[in-house]
């Protein structure tokens, strides 16, 4: 099923025969969504003139347990703001967000125990080693630091980081390695909803592939629902069960990658590719978006 411009989602997605276990699509009536975003709205007041900017505008998304939901959009479209609203790092102006039925505003602590987030900048104490950072995370989430250490070694070994590297400061590691440690840190807490905010942005191709494979492995082996924001259309197509495109704070379309490609081919007469989908619904090519990003950096 394809949703264009926040149409209500009520009909359950049929389960494909080739994927009997994983259920894709908005949850049917009566099934509790893993993540429910209803009419979420967030405004910021910016600049000296106190201009009001709507970063997230009446966005509604319902994500089923075990799904990987991708959020695509140009820079400044509201992707990260949406992730921050779910992460309890921002408060809503309107609408509601629920994680397994827990409202982010009313039941913040319960939501915090269910989620974890990996941000684009791998937020660590860079002078501390991976072990020290992971011990800090484990204690914050009430885990046994020794058990967490053993588990971290296993996860990081899977990501190609040997135990002997875990005692050195993180600042001595490449960005790719730091991002892998960030993912290991998030998984340590066994989140039921994992928010990945551009986890592969800026990584070299090898690290990017490692991280992508690991996300697939997490999808297949952990009972985690994943929300992934990315600029990488190939990555989104490879990893995500469904994708929502956000433009100027609004969710303009959502569906499976196949459905979205079919939509642009059928209704817009364009090549059935994710690039066409991105262009059609954001009015930008990915190259334009990257140029914008570079200008922002400047």
């Amino acid at each position: 099923m394809i949703d264009v411009v926040n149409e209500p989602k009520s009909a359950p997605m049929p389960i494909p025969a080739s994927e009997p276990v994983r259920r894709v699509g908005p949850p049917p009536v009566g099934e509790q969504p893993a993540l429910l975003i209803e009419h979420a709205t967030k405004r910021f007041v910016v600049g000296r003139k106190k201009k009001s900017v709507v970063a997230v505008n009446d966005v509604s998304i319902s994500i089923r347990r075990g799904e990987i939901y991708g959020i695509l959009g140009a820079n400044g479209s509201g992707k990260s703001t949406l992730i921050r609203l779910v992460s309890t790092l921002l408060t809503l102006e309107g609408g509601r967000v629920e994680v397994f039925g827990h409202d982010v505003a009313r039941d913040e602590m319960a939501v915090k125990r269910l989620i974890n987030r990996v941000s684009v900048d791998a937020a660590f104490f860079k002078k501390l080693s991976p072990h020290e950072n992971l011990a800090y995370a484990a204690r914050l989430y009430g885990l046994d630091a020794r058990k967490a250490r053993a588990e971290a070694i296993t996860i990081l070994a899977r990501l190609g980081i040997g135990e002997k590297r875990l005692g050195r400061p993180l600042e001595q590691m490449s960005r790719g390695m730091q991002q892998k440690v960030a993912i290991a840190r998030a998984l340590l807490t066994s989140p039921t909803v994992l928010l990945l905010d551009e986890p592969t942005t800026g990584l070299d191709p090898r690290s990017k592939l490692d991280v992508q494979s690991f996300i697939e492995e997490v999808r297949d082996t952990h009972d985690a629902t994943i929300v992934l924001t990315t600029h990488d259309l190939t990555e989104a197509e490879r990893l995500c069960d469904r994708i929502g495109l956000i433009n100027d704070g609004r969710l303009v379309v959502d569906g499976t990658p196949a459905e979205l490609k079919e939509l642009v081919a059928r209704d817009y007469g364009k090549e059935p590719s994710m690039d066409s989908v991105f262009m059609t619904f954001t009015g930008k090519s990915l190259d334009d978006d990257i140029d914008d990003e570079n200008e922002d950096d400047d």
Binding site: R84, L89, L90, K112, F125, L128, E132, L140, Y141
Partner: protein, 266 residues
Amino acid sequence: MSIATRELRASFAFVERNFNLTKRYWGWEVAWLVYSLAAALAVAYIGVAQNDPVLLQTLIIGAIFWNFLSIVFGFIGETVTWERWEGTLEYTFMAPVRRYTQLIGSTFFAVAYAVIQMVVILIVMLFFFDVEFTGGNFVTAGVFLALGSISFVGVGMMAAILPLLYVERGDQMVFVIQSIILLFSGVYYAPETLPDWMQVVGLFSPGTYVLEGIRGGLIDGLPVTALLNDVWPLVVMGAILIPLGVYVFGIAERYAKRTGKLKRVG
């Protein structure tokens, strides 16, 4: 796991993290210790130059205990600043940890760190200067140090909201508050030395009562019971400022979440 156990374990996260950071930034720790020692010695030599044993005692007490109190205040006041520098503020604020748990952990480490530095400076001071506190009441000094720590934690918590609210200037504001407390609290001189209006302002500083109490104990040998006029303001300040600090910090956190200031790195 009970809530208390979970919160205690979580508060230890901040103790362990700060210990690890101190270890990793050991070069800066040595530099700050040398600076604190040099500053304390330089101030104390004024007493030697005046050939006045009581002045020397006054200055030594001021230097050592101000160093202690300013460390406690600084650690708490800069709780948010540290996280902003490192870029971990959002990560910590997203964790299922109550803010008072974070502040308890930060306070515990700050007091332990300040005690260690105070002992080191005291030992060096005794090595440099022929000063004795033979008639001193060390119990009184200990009580005032403990009460002072509590009050300074309260003031520190109030100050800690500034870096949360003012991303670029908050840390500077904390530094200004610390400087003002130094000036008005009679750290190196009796508060009566100050102009009347400054003495009135000094009445609102916990430093004034801590320093008076410790000097009363160590120089005059007075028991705590003889210094109750300095005790009750500290008790009242601690009882009001700590819960108020946690409450106001909560308001500031909600404001930061509403305006998006947690994201900013300063």
